[in-house]
């Protein structure tokens, strides 16, 4: 198995830690001038999302994790799994609820997502930064109230609930930033 020495550490590097694939978030080299050098890293467990600190003696090696991030098209969910397809090879992969996590509320068929594969199986899904989704439920709009502030909750076709301006109606299309969950704009159909 491939391995990395501490001097190859940089953010984004995927390593195995305690049996799980992890990504290095931060790497700090500390060394008293005449003393032992250490690498102090923050790593994210790619399965659980948990962030942990780890201190290595410089020069130590850790196993590389067979993890790749790849663009895949979202197809559908059968309730238990979310199915994705590689647009080049047409190969499909099924992600469970654990792997999809919060991304599930933004997944619309045919949107392209970044899927993190560990030994070929999805362990994480990142939706597009911006998605365009239809409002399926919200309180009736207030006529003429286009300039005032004020928002109301709206349920979108994927199940996500976002705050939208008061004038929006059921059936309208909105653009949402999936990173913050915030409404960006109305989209003309």
């Amino acid at each position: 198995m491939a391995s990395y020495s501490t001097n190859e550490f940089r953010s984004g590097l995927k390593i195995m830690m305690d049996g799980d694939p992890c990504a290095i978030i931060e790497n700090e080299f500390v060394k008293p001038g005449k003393g032992q050098a250490f690498n102090r890293v923050k790593i994210r467990n790619l399965k659980t999302g948990r962030v942990l600190d780890k201190t290595f003696k410089s020069g130590e090696s850790v196993d590389a994790a067979d993890v790749i991030d790849t663009e895949m098209q979202y197809l559908y969910t059968d309730g238990e799994f979310w199915h994705f397809m590689d647009p080049q090879t047409y190969e499909q992969a099924a992600a469970d609820a654990n792997a999809v996590g919060d991304a599930s509320q933004w997944l619309k068929a045919q949107d392209t997502c970044e899927v993190t594969l560990y030994n070929g199986s999805p362990i994480g899904v990142t939706p597009p930064n911006f998605v365009e989704l239809e409002i399926t439920d919200t309180d009736p709009g207030l006529k003429g109230d286009t300039a005032q502030g004020g928002t109301k909750p709206a349920t979108l076709e994927t199940g996500a609930v976002v705050k939208v301006p008061l004038f929006l109606e059921i059936g309208e299309l909105v653009k949402v930033d999936t990173r913050s969950g915030e409404y960006m704009s109305r989209v003309k159909k």
Binding site: F29, K31, P32, G33, K34, G35, Q36, S58
Partner: protein, 310 residues
């Protein structure tokens, strides 16, 4: 292609300013500027300092990790007090505060001990600073006692390892030896809490490097380091002048290197012969100029003071 320097032109001018002031400082104090080779056939044997080898004319040479050995040969030759501004090289040291090639100011004061040298460093930094600065001093043992409630004289290795695991997030201390535990605690648990310019003196004798043992307490060496807000800035000694003791330390280094599976290094017989012929009592210090510049200009990464970095 980004061919531009990492340091701003203003930082480059500030470096020129402090170099000029350093030279004036030592000139008025009767210290001679010297220049020694950066590439020599022998190198530092220290376990934790890696030298960069270079092949030259069919023989192995090393880029110097500091000009210490060569400057001591000048002292033994009767140079009197000397200083040098030069580059130094340390293999594998790279990070926010490290670059494998960096700039040192190293100087030796004949007739001084380490306390007198600390006074002179205070004066130099005050001269170079654009604002007021204050200095404090604490012994290595007191530093650990105050910051970690740990008496390093009394603590067993098991206690040191436990302290590492409690104080340093994600540390596995099971295979660390005593000095590695102390290094980790100092760098990761204590340094982040240190404030202002602070001298730490009387290092454990196991970390004496090229310092002489204290005449008062044989368990410590007359070695100090200067920190600024926890960033290590300078390392100095009352210099070891005893050739036999120096040879014993070189041999101990090589023994430790063998145990750790590191290459053993040829001992610098020229330095030993120089000490044998007699070197006056003196104190010496190496100060990292890149970090000093960072501190004086309130910058937080060494990149910001280097002209270029690959």
């Amino acid at each position: 292609m980004n061919w531009q320097p990492c340091a701003s032109l203003e930082v480059i001018r500030q470096r020129a300013r402090i170099y000029k002031q350093i030279r004036a400082f030592f000139d008025t104090r009767g210290c001679l500027e010297v220049d020694t080779p950066l590439m020599m056939p022998t190198t530092n044997t220290d376990l934790n300092i890696g030298s960069i080898p270079v092949a030259q004319g069919g023989r192995n040479m090393y880029l110097q990790t500091s000009p210490e050995y060569a400057m001591k040969r000048l002292l033994a030759a009767g140079s009197g007090s000397i200083f040098q501004i030069c580059h130094a090289f340390r293999e594998g040291e790279a990070g926010r505060l490290h670059n494998p090639e960096f700039n040192l100011l190293e100087w030796y004061r004949v007739g001084y001990d380490y306390r007198q040298l600390m006074n002179e460093i205070e004066l130099l930094i005050t001269t170079l600073s654009l604002s007021q600065c204050s200095f404090s001093r604490i012994s290595y043992r007191e530093l650990f006692r105050g910051a970690l409630e740990l008496d390093i004289e009394q603590a067993t290795l098991a206690e040191l390892r436990r302290c590492c695991e409690q104080r340093v997030a994600g540390a596995d201390a099971a295979d660390l030896d005593t000095d590695q535990c102390l290094d980790l605690l100092l760098a990761a648990a204590i340094a982040p809490t240190m404030q202002g310019y602070q001298f730490v003196y009387d290092y454990p004798i196991s970390q004496a490097a090229l310092a002489r043992a204290s005449g008062v307490d044989a368990s410590v060496a007359e070695r100090f380091e200067l920190f600024h807000d926890g960033i290590e800035l300078a390392n100095g000694f009352s210099e070891l002048t005893d050739a036999a003791e120096q040879r014993a330390r070189f041999e101990r280094d090589n023994l430790a290197r063998r145990e750790r599976g590191l290459p053993e290094l040829e001992i610098d017989e020229h330095l030993l012969a120089a000490l044998e012929s007699g070197m006056e009592d003196c104190a010496g210090v190496a100060l990292g100029l890149d970090r000093l510049l960072m501190i004086l200009l309130d910058l937080d990464s060494i990149d910001q003071v280097l002209t270029f970095r690959d």
